[in-house]
Amino acid sequence: MHAHISRRQFLARGGKAALGVGLAGSLLSGCGGGGGGGGQVTYWSNLEGSGPQAYFKKSIEKPFEKANGGTDLKVTFQPPDEMDRLVRTALQGGEGPDIIMTPGPAYAQEYIDANLFAELDDYSSEYKWEDKLLGWALDLGRYEDKLYAIPYQLQTMLLYYNKTLFEDKGMAPPKNRDELEAMAEELQGQGITPFAAGIGDDPAAIEWFPTVFWNHYSGPDALYQALTGEIPFSDPIFVEAIDLFNSYVQKGWFGGSQEKFFSNGFDALHADLGDGKAGTNVEGSWFLATINDYFENSGDAWDWAPLPPLRSGVPAELYELGIGSTLSVNGRAENAEGAAAFIDYLVADKKRAAEWMAAVPSAFNAPLPFSESDFPSSMDERVARQLAALSQATNQGNFGYTAWTFWPSKSDVYIQEEMQKVLTGDITAAEFCRGLDEQFTEERKEGAVPKIIKPGGAA
């Protein structure tokens, strides 16, 4: 899924960061521009919070208009959770903005099937996106060898931990399953929740956990085979991963107890991490934007680590790839040139993108080949390290798959709904995986599975 509450929260709070970094001047100087001279371009953004919105208007919208011959960029900020419904409704009525944002490739594919998006290959040549963007990102936006969508808002899952607590206890982030289980037992024995976790604010967020366990237990190669239909999701390798997660929840490692896992809200679980009542938190990279807020009270330090492999043979440093949104040009756009020019301006310029990623940390990550030195000095070192690690790992093919990006929508909803029943004991892990396989196979036959890019290790 698409727009988790935690991400909304951090976008709203990102205002503080946006207002604090003072990057407007440098962005103004980093002019882009291209073929979008004149006319109006309409864009619906999922950016929340008055601070980030003011920053966007001042440091992106106005400089773009100036650099593109007076093009009038008309931006409307829409609630992230409502965006797809609003876009869907507008497109049904033959309307909608010139630039269409979708919650991910599976959604984009649906619009492409309905012939609602313009082809972007000419613009890709004009703006040299092949040279600028990460190769897999362009692959992900291609359907039947034609480019229609640019993946945006890159995400991954990370293990955040209370560094002060870990140092006090003489512990280090786990590097394999044995270390992870030893850490969890040690923390729980001392009355500390091993993993701050809960889906009370957003039950769909349960999909984070099958995502993590399938990637780090079953492995990206097995997932690639399943997503491309070579092996079924009922394969024991996937069932075992779900059983493992369920066993951890039943032990109370995630959120304190099974029932608390269902009711804990994001604010409470994040506060537990900051206060040292919980040792770690498995969450997406979007949490980087607000994590500091939760450590202010205690004064503790935090850091992140890659999620460890839970079975031998799984890569040690593996980042499951999530796409928070895609950008496309509306097939009915009156100013398609201007729309493409803005997508290029927003996404494809490394310096501008890095500064925007620093202004609202880790929210609008562009699919560009970053290294740590590309980011401004104002960016938190831990954020820069994560962004560079994700960019480099995915560039080398060392990535996994997130449910909200690579599973078709009905299979994704199946995971969100039925995974809960595994934890409550209403169904077994094997039944869950069998049901998923049936749903996925049906959607695969319908052609609803988005393009599955191949990880580096997959044969």
Binding site: I199, P203, S257, E259, K260, F262, S263, N264, G265, K421
Partner: protein
């Protein structure tokens, strides 16, 4: 005779003009109804016979969606939760409302203060009410842990919204908290219209408080009581907001109702045609309640 004919013609003209004026006043409402209610309703009926994702062309599938609903375990589970919800709301808030109104009717001082206090939750937005109670009932930081610190531990760690057993009644409790004050005011208004002499007569006949309540109060407020029952049944069939805000139907479908299931079908699974069929099913059930109500009235029931 001629005079009579002229008078009749004049009366007829006046009637036509009045009729025309009435229709002219009704035209804006009719147009709004046609555009906002009838149009989408007809579209919903059509889409309920199609397979449609919400965009692109819809494919005609006849009665398939309705057949699927009949075989859909999740739908029947959700409908059962609607029925449980209905039973809760036909008893708890109506009982509390009657009691509250009766007690309020017995006092004159501070009555207005109590009326306002009872009514406040009703005017607070559902998201605010929900957030308030999510915090109060939080298993780690809510009232349970606060009571535990003063030596009353029985609620400590209880996860009201995270337990399959407690989630539905817990959300119903929150919804009831906002709703029952409104019911009190409805009943109080009705009580004030009951003739005081009837109570005096009942007292003279030796009726105690309970007998007065059963034999004077209830018949006196019957119309309001039936109205509350009617809106409770329809509201319970269509319930959505508090459940969607607090649990979104979870955990594991334990608080799922047809409204939340329908929303997920339309906007998460993109089965807009199936969701339309589900919506029509709900509308049919609500309509049935109204038809039964009208039928009973026509049969002479004083409701």
């Amino acid at each position: 005779m001629a005079q009579g004919a002229a008078k009749s013609a004049s009366t007829g003209g006046l009637r036509r003009r009045r009729l025309l004026s009435a229709w002219l006043f009704m035209v804006p409402l009719l147009v709004v109804n046609l555009l906002v209610i009838l149009g989408p309703s007809v579209a919903t009926v059509y889409y309920s016979f199609t397979e449609w994702s919400g965009i692109g062309p819809a494919e005609w599938v006849g009665l398939q969606n309705y057949r699927d609903i009949v075989a859909d375990v999740d739908f029947w589970s959700a409908l059962l939760h609607n029925l449980i919800w209905t039973m809760i709301f036909l008893t708890v808030p109506i009982g509390m409302g009657l009691l509250g109104a009766f007690l309020l009717s017995q006092i004159t001082r501070f009555q207005m203060i109590f009326r306002v206090l009872y009514f406040i939750p009703y005017v607070i937005a559902s998201v605010v009410n929900a957030a308030l109670w999510q915090n109060i009932l939080d298993p780690s930081r809510g009232i349970g842990s606060a009571l535990a610190t003063v030596g009353i531990p029985f609620l400590d760690g209880v996860s009201f919204f995270g337990s399959e057993r407690l989630a539905l009644p817990a959300v119903a409790f929150v919804d009831n908290w906002h709703w029952w004050g409104f019911v009190v005011l409805l009943f109080l208004t009705a009580l004030q219209s009951v003739d005081k002499e009837l109570y005096e007569a009942a007292k003279m006949d030796g009726a105690n408080r309970w007998q007065q309540f059963i034999n004077v109060t209830i018949p006196g407020i019957r119309a309001t009581l039936v109205f509350v029952v009617l809106i409770t049944i329809i509201g319970s069939l269509l319930v959505f907001d508090y459940i969607y805000i607090i649990t979104q139907g979870g955990p594991a479908g334990a608080s799922e109702v047809v409204g939340t299931l329908m929303y997920k079908e339309a906007f998460a699974r993109f089965e807009a045609g199936y969701a339309a069929a589900m919506g029509l099913g709900l509308s049919f059930m609500s309509g049935l309640v109204i038809v039964v109500f009208l039928f009973l009235r026509r049969r002479g029931w004083e409701i």
